[in-house]
Symmetry: C2
Subunit: 147 residues, 2 copies
Amino acid sequence: MSEHVRQTEPFRWEGIEVRPYKSDGTHFEGVTRQLLFKGGGGLACQLRYFEIAPRGYSSLERHHHAHAVMVVRGRGRVLVGDRLIAARRHDLVRVPPRTWHQFRAGAGAPLGFLCMVDCERDVPERPDAEALAALRHNPAIAAFIRL
Amino acid sequence: MSEHVRQTEPFRWEGIEVRPYKSDGTHFEGVTRQLLFKGGGGLACQLRYFEIAPRGYSSLERHHHAHAVMVVRGRGRVLVGDRLIAARRHDLVRVPPRTWHQFRAGAGAPLGFLCMVDCERDVPERPDAEALAALRHNPAIAAFIRL
């Protein structure tokens, strides 16, 4: 990567590919991923930019690694453990290890956010029936989650 | 840190202190630092927000760790090795290990940027007379640097 990568249009950068969020699956909707800093060479973390289209959502998952998130475009709601967070531009969201989380854009705006993660990390886990039942014990979370 | 930290006014966040850039020295001017994500607990990196007031500058330094930077407010110029970069909002700047670098805001706007770094990192080194002479070999860099 060059020392300088320009933003060429809003939230698009020269030479950085806009990729699908995940390679397959139907447990997410309308999400793109851009790898802004791939890590290595003196950096133990990556910085990614995710954008969720209006009404879209990321997958409901958890893992041992953590996420450090800053919203940079639009707004949305985020499930983190047992909390539903209404996040606006420049708000920070922390996803601790082993914590169920899902990001959703509302109907009226995309949700674009930076996400810092360790380069070395485990594969996300999706909820089984028991975990889903526990999550759905809270009616607000039951209404929020998308599978 | 809570799972959700709101931006309370532009580039200020609830419960996050606005700190001096460094504890002492006269080799920088008009720089503040905010630690957005301190790392640990599943994250090997920190995310900081630095803001340089108009006409201000960070210290000219280098170190073994790298920086991954995204400009989020205003604009400015950055020395990275032998390159002078004009960086605008949302541009990315990569500072490789052992590379001299300095950030400067212009006269008309602040320069605010996110900076990702490893939690475990070495102490920055400042240039000695020999290193300064080498940097000043390029007239544009000689005119740019501030000590």
